[in-house]
């Protein structure tokens, strides 16, 4: 047991948990932890330009690596600026740890300078949070914070550190292991339920695997692929599930839901068995809930019991780790001794039906002479990067076009804010991913609206010499809202047209980065080529067709079979 100050305990815990990189922004109430960080000298700190950027960067780091992302900010506005980032991580089950400074315990509740009840504010959007009032509790709280953030269904944890606690001396005994009587996530799936699920699978003629972000979080992509191939069953993915099953695989139907493929939505609607794995039947997936999958039985694998039976009735709920559950199902399929041909034959008619849907309405767009189509930019980006880049997106049309036209074969290569839908997520997330993988190609696909929400982080990227490539699809609109106004509000474009947009090429240059612009289709290849080949931070701006829409589209509140097509 060693005696040390609270500020040093924080650093020591980070080291013991294997953290070698954090994102943050200092201030008066956290200055002591910063001082301890510098004295220790083994943890790399990335200074962002806005605390929201720190939270998203920690999140991007976590999604790209599967490790925990950590950020460090001060009290008051420093803390509140992280809230969007925390809620983003919470909705998408991303393990991040946020340390906030706080005014000294004696001043709490006095409306002191830069005081805010951040624990109260973040209670509904963290997995758990702590206000540490006594340095005696700090080692235990630090251990619990890491454990809770990473285990079960992962999520953000916030630890609020009053200034006097940072500077109080205490005994530091860091628990190696921890058991919490009130928190025991179920990891191992129930064997009986697996058997029941297999019985349904054996009988199904039109099965479909509906795979979500849980596949990626639990590292179940190999098990998923093996199961799909063993059963000869088609697979569709949620936005969060992209990369969990190879997008180029012949059994892949691509994404489902509001902007999903025709084949995926038709297959769901006509299926007789849905195997939902690490997905939560979100309203963007189900459409009008009364008309969702009328003919299907549902097997639902999820580590979070609250996700099961929340939106739809489930026949076989299986609570547990997605990877273990899929592995158990796969073992049953293999042990059944049923030959591969038998499965193939059982699903042959179904797969043929799906092929006709695929052929009838593939993902497509209309080419127009002289106009850059955003889908074309993404297609070319996919081909030039051979699908090997880590892609982050902002939110809106840019995100949906990327999800549709970039084929993700590997998990943790597509980082996007699915649940909360946070504009301004993509660029700081790219910073987190590039810090984790300095040698990989990291690209943020953005719109002219969303890139401006955290554009200040270009300074961070330059300071850290990060060679991130930013693709801006510039339509001078807040495109997704404009699309809704066009379709459902009689083309009344309220507050969605930008009368003024900065010159993104000059802006890039102002930050010391490079900028390229394409305004005609024949320039797209050249700009992409130059942009990807140029070292360092690069902005590639494409002046796209201003009123291009994302299709297919299921209007909000409609059944998923009622798709608007190109």
């Amino acid at each position: 047991m060693t005696e040390m100050a609270g500020r040093d305990m924080v650093i020591e815990a980070l080291k013991r948990e294997g953290v070698d990189l954090i994102f943050g922004f200092p201030g008066g109430a956290i200055i002591d932890v910063y001082d301890a960080l510098e004295k220790d000298g083994t943890i790399k700190h990335v200074l962002v330009r806005h605390e929201q950027g720190a939270a998203h960067a920690a999140d991007g780091y976590a999604r790209a690596t599967g490790r925990i992302g950590v950020c460090l900010v001060t009290s008051g506005p420093g803390a509140t600026n992280t809230v969007t980032g925390i809620a983003t991580a919470s909705m998408d089950s991303v393990p991040i740890l946020v340390f906030t400074g706080q005014v000294p315990t004696g001043l709490i509740g006095n409306d002191a300078f830069q005081e805010v009840d951040i624990v109260g504010i973040t209670r509904p959007c963290t997995k758990h949070n702590y206000l540490v009032k006594d340095v005696k509790d700090l080692p235990r709280v630090l251990k619990e914070a890491f454990y809770i953030a990473r285990s079960g269904r992962p999520g953000p944890v916030l630890v609020d550190l009053p200034k006097d606690v940072q500077n109080s001396m205490g005994d530091f005994e860091y628990p190696e292991k921890i058991r919490l009587r009130s928190y025991n996530p179920v990891i191992r799936p129930n064997a009986k339920q697996i058997e029941r699920a297999f019985e349904l699978i054996e009988r199904a003629r039109r099965p479909i695997i509906y795979a979500g972000g849980g596949i990626i979080i639990s590292g179940a992509h190999e098990e998923l692929r093996a199961l799909a191939e063993a059963l000869d069953s088609p697979v569709t993915m949620t936005l969060m599930g992209l990369g969990g099953f190879p997008g180029t695989h012949e059994l892949s139907l691509g994404m489902l839901g509001m902007h999903g493929t025709y084949a995926a939505n038709m297959a769901m609607a006509n299926s007789d068995l849905i195997i939902a794995a690490g997905a939560r039947f979100d309203d963007r997936v189900t459409g009008k809930i009364e008309d969702f999958v009328p003919k299907a039985k549902i097997i639902h694998l999820d580590i979070d019991p609250t996700s099961i039976q929340k939106n739809v009735r489930v026949d076989i709920p299986i609570v547990g780790d997605c990877r273990m559950a899929l592995k158990a199902l796969l073992d049953m399929v293999r042990d059944s001794g049923r030959p591969a041909e038998a499965w193939a034959e059982q699903h042959q008619e179904w797969l043929q039906q799906i092929e006709t849907w695929k052929a009838r309405h593939p993902l497509r767009y209309k080419e127009e002479p002289g106009v850059i189509k955003p889908q074309y930019v993404i297609e070319r980006l996919y081909e030039m990067t051979k699908g090997r880049a880590i892609i982050t997106t902002e939110v809106g049309q840019n995100q949906m076009w990327t999800a549709q036209f970039y084929k993700f074969d590997e998990p943790r290569t597509f980082l996007t804010s699915g649940g909360l839908g946070t504009m301004g997520y993509g660029f700081p997330a790219a910073i987190g991913a590039q810090m984790a993988f300095p040698d990989k190609l990291v690209i943020d696909v953005a719109g002219d609206g969303s890139i401006q929400m955290n554009i200040q982080e270009m300074a961070t990227a330059m300071e850290q010499h990060l060679p991130i490539k930013i693709v801006i699809l510039n339509n001078q609109f807040l495109g997704m809202v404009r699309q809704w106004q066009e379709l459902f509000y009689n083309r009344r474009y309220v507050a969605t047209k930008f009368e003024m947009t900065p010159d993104f090429v000059k802006l890039a240059e102002a930050y010391g980065a490079r900028g390229f612009r394409a305004t005609r289709p024949e320039e797209v290849n050249e700009v992409l080529k130059k942009g990807l080949e140029t070292e360092g931070l690069v902005v590639m701006e494409f002046a796209i067709a201003p009123e291009e829409g994302v299709f297919p589209m299921v209007p909000a509140g409609k059944a998923t079979t009622e798709m608007l097509l190109v």
């Binding site: 624990v119 109260g120 209670r123 509904p124 997995k127 009130s182 019991p305 609250t306 039976q309 929340k310």
Partner: protein, 165 residues
Amino acid sequence: MKHTLSVLVENTPGALSRITGLFSGRGFNIESLCVAATLDPTLSHLTLVTNGDRPIIEQIIKQLRRLIDVYKVVDVSEGEFVEREMALIKVRAEDETRAEVLRTCDIFRCKIVDVSPKTYTVEVTGPESKLNAVIELLCPLGIKEISRTGTIAMAREKKTALGRS
């Protein structure tokens, strides 16, 4: 349908706020809420009356269990259970009604815990339905103030020895 949940939570600051925040944030109802210490000083016991159909109650229970500070959740209204609530009722007791108040109290086995020239304060204990009945009867006499505790509840012990499990 009305459900009575018995919840054990870690006795930490903020635990109650997590629970009430969960209800308001997800649009669930709280009809009554009662919190007190247990024999174990590190745990608090909370009795919560809520309503909703089966899927809603299932979701409420799961969401409660998901909270890191929640140790145990039991829907005591699933089986046989005893519920009690207490109320203090300050009722007008003028010359013409004093006897009537006392009679009512007698019938319901209430206790008079405070007396003034113009009022009685009545203590009544029982299931919610009994409290409502007393209040209804005393209302015409003139109730000045009511304070109710909210329901506490406990599952009945299984009568396995008698073969009636």
